[in-house]
């Protein structure tokens, strides 16, 4: 499919993708450092290694396009433009967090950038994304609705129901499966009948494409095509984006179940430095320019973290609010 695709990431686009990827990578590194240091205690699902997918998506999506993502979704959200201060304040459980400290890392939400739902339930991003897509149809808007989920999630019923509905209703839903080859400690290979998630789309009468999610150009081309299809009212697409996570299922996970050489090879092929090297080699950006971008990212994260840690905690009484629109009686 890629060969015949008309959507090509030009140099400027590749640089923009890199900027996002660098932010995502830096933010993940910082998060792990902050946990280790004890500054913030949180459940954390590292996405290191998967940055290219959401960096490309963020590049191609508008603010009014929506996304429903998962516990391992901070990369998706940063790619979509989640601002750093309310993000970090939420991670720190502060009242200045986007969710006032009520949601936390697994339920980050930021509607101004179309970040509508983050779920901790495997597969549940998909059915909800269809509703946002239905709303776009009703609004006669060309906005699209993206959901992300993992390879493991592709075996749960909700995803199947959602794909069928999207197909028959021709919804502008884009199903983005980030296949990092593991679901917790379980391999993709062992649990996936057919060994080909993209191939399941045919069963619902919709296009399904497997792409190298770590290759910015291939990812760009495939995702752009899915977006164009959705915006044109032609219906959903399933993208199976091949990738790898470097650091175990969640922070603290003993990742000895990942074969050492597989992990080493994946880290060796780390897509973020690879894109960086490519930008320099192709003279799209200089080492100096990129270093400045990265330094700026670090400064932004510094600022956000400082903001978060200086922010007040919520009060117990806050439990009475946001259950319903009207507060619960004390």
């Amino acid at each position: 499919m890629v060969a015949t695709n008309q959507y090509v990431a030009d140099s400027a686009t590749l640089l923009e993708i890199y900027k996002r990827a660098a932010l995502l990578k830096a933010n993940d590194e910082r998060a792990r450092k902050v946990i280790l240091s004890g500054q913030i205690a949180m459940v954390y699902y590292s996405y290191r290694g998967q940055e290219i997918i959401p960096s490309v998506m963020g590049q191609l999506l508008r603010d009014d396009d929506t996304i429903c993502t998962i516990y391992r979704g901070i990369h998706d959200m940063l790619g979509k433009g989640f601002p750093l201060r309310p993000l970090w304040a939420e991670l720190a459980g502060r009242v200045t967090g986007s969710c006032k400290g009520k949601g936390g890392p697994m339920h980050l939400t930021y509607p101004p950038k179309g970040i509508m739902v983050t779920t901790g339930i495997v597969g549940s991003s998909a059915p909800i994304a269809n509703g946002l897509a239905w709303a776009a149809q009703l609004d006669k808007s060309d906005r699209v609705s993206v959901c992300t989920f993992g390879d493991g999630a592709s075996n749960i019923g909700a995803v199947h129901e959602a794909m069928n509905l999207a197909s028959i209703w021709k919804l502008p839903t884009i199903f983005v499966c980030q296949n990092n080859l593991f679901a917790e400690h379980t391999t993709f290979e062992k649990m996936t009948g057919g060994q080909n998630i993209a191939g399941r789309a045919a069963g619902y009468g919709m296009p399904g494409v497997r792409v190298n999610g770590n290759d910015p150009e291939e990812m760009y081309s495939a995702f752009a095509q899915a977006v164009a299809r959705a915006r044109a009212g032609e219906g959903p697409t399933l993208l199976e984006c091949m990738t790898f996570r470097f650091f175990g299922h969640n922070f603290g996970d003993d990742d000895s179940y990942i074969p050492k050489d597989q992990k080493a090879a994946a880290m060796e092929a780390d897509p973020v430095p690879a894109l960086r090297a490519r930008l320099i080699a192709d003279r799209i950006a200089s080492e100096h320019e990129l270093a400045a971008i990265e330094a700026d990212i670090e400064a932004q994260i510094d600022d956000a973290l400082e903001f978060a840690l200086a922010s007040p905690w919520p009060e117990p009484d806050d439990l009475r609010f946001d259950v319903f629109e009207k507060e619960i009686a004390a």
Binding site: C99, K102, I128, G131, S145, F324, E325
Partner: protein
């Protein structure tokens, strides 16, 4: 509900719900609905409640779905996040079991988990109730599950007027509401008028359907119908029963219930759901706590038997309370 009852035209609950649908769709373009068989090519739903709706308001707003309850609920939730007000039909209440994640982990929690940034103003209509011999998987009352879930409201009507007014309020409510409909009392013409389109029944407000001084009888859905019948019979035996139809099961109307219980000192609660851990338990616990020492008798509960709903007629009849069993309990309480 006054003396001239008999003079009123007779309408059914189902007619009231159909009218509510019509009025809501005509007034609010943001309301949409989806569920199995709901659109006209599929006959307007198994109970024909939405018959004509897709023809009048378009296939975009009225959609038949595949048999995919998780997809149904997800589509409703997602559309509500984008400013629509979906009414999702989960045909029978037992089928909520395949959509519990969407209802409980998502619809009920997204407002809270997002710190109030998003909300899920949906209505889940679902039908249930024994009486048709449909057996163990088609007529459970599962309202306790949802009453126990913070973030979602639950209601059920026992009169056409309330059905109309509650459904309208549920759709206007900014939060998710489960609207439970009782199949066996659905079609029965009742002595009530079809309300006009301004009629609303506020969520959270019970109805005193009959005033009385000896016993407070709390019920909802079909049990409220049975309760009214039992109260009439009790009056003939000299016992004055105050019948309260909760209408909203969660959050329930503590003030009305406690005021009545304080007045009578004797309380009976009846529901079709399994008695153990049913909503009667919560109500009894609260009454006992609030009116400790002020009650003349311990709060009494009637509920479904502790078993699956049986098929065979005599067993099905024995399973749930009815007017006769409610009456017997009233007489016992009033002693």
């Amino acid at each position: 509900m006054s003396a001239e009852k008999a003079a009123k035209p007779k309408v059914s609950i189902i007619a009231a719900i159909s009218k509510a649908y019509q009025d809501i769709f005509a007034e609010d373009p943001k309301v949409i609905t989806l569920g199995e068989d709901l659109a006209d090519p599929e006959g307007g739903g198994i109970a024909k409640i939405t018959k004509g709706l897709s023809t009048s308001f378009g296939d975009d707003r009225v959609r038949s779905t595949p048999i995919s309850e998780q997809a149904i609920m997800g589509a409703a939730i997602g559309a509500s996040l984008a400013g629509y007000k979906p009414i999702a039909e989960i045909m029978l209440m037992n089928f909520t079991t395949v959509a519990m994640d969407m209802i409980v982990n998502h619809a009920a929690k997204l407002r809270f988990m997002s710190g109030g940034q998003t909300s899920v103003p949906i209505v889940i209509r679902t039908m249930t109730g024994l009486g048709y011999g449909s057996g163990g998987q088609h007529c459970d009352y599962l309202e306790t599950w949802f009453a126990h879930t913070a973030g979602i409201k639950v209601c059920a009507a026992s009169t056409p007027e309330d059905a109309y007014g509650l459904l309208r309020s549920a759709v206007e409510d900014p939060d998710p509401v489960i609207f439970i409909e009782n199949l066996p009392t659905y079609h029965a013409p009742m002595a009530f008028e079809l309300p006009d389109s301004s009629h609303r029944v506020p969520l959270g407000k019970a109805a005193i359907q009959r005033e009385g001084s000896d016993v407070t009888l709390i019920a909802y859905a079909r049990m409220a119908v049975e309760a009214r019948a039992a109260a009439v019979q009790a009056a003939e035996q000299g016992v004055s029963v105050e019948v309260i139809d909760l209408r909203t099961i969660a959050p329930w109307d503590r003030e009305t219930v406690l005021a009545s219980a304080r007045k009578t000192g004797r309380v009976l609660i009846a529901h079709e759901a399994v008695k153990e851990h049913g909503v009667g338990a919560e109500i009894a616990a609260v009454i006992n706590e609030e009116l400790f020492g002020a009650l003349k008798k311990p709060v009494k509960r009637l509920g479904g038997a502790f078993s699956a709903v049986p098929y065979s007629k005599p067993l099905e009849t024995a399973y749930a309370p009815d007017a006769a069993r409610i009456l017997a309990a009233i007489i016992e309480l009033a002693k």
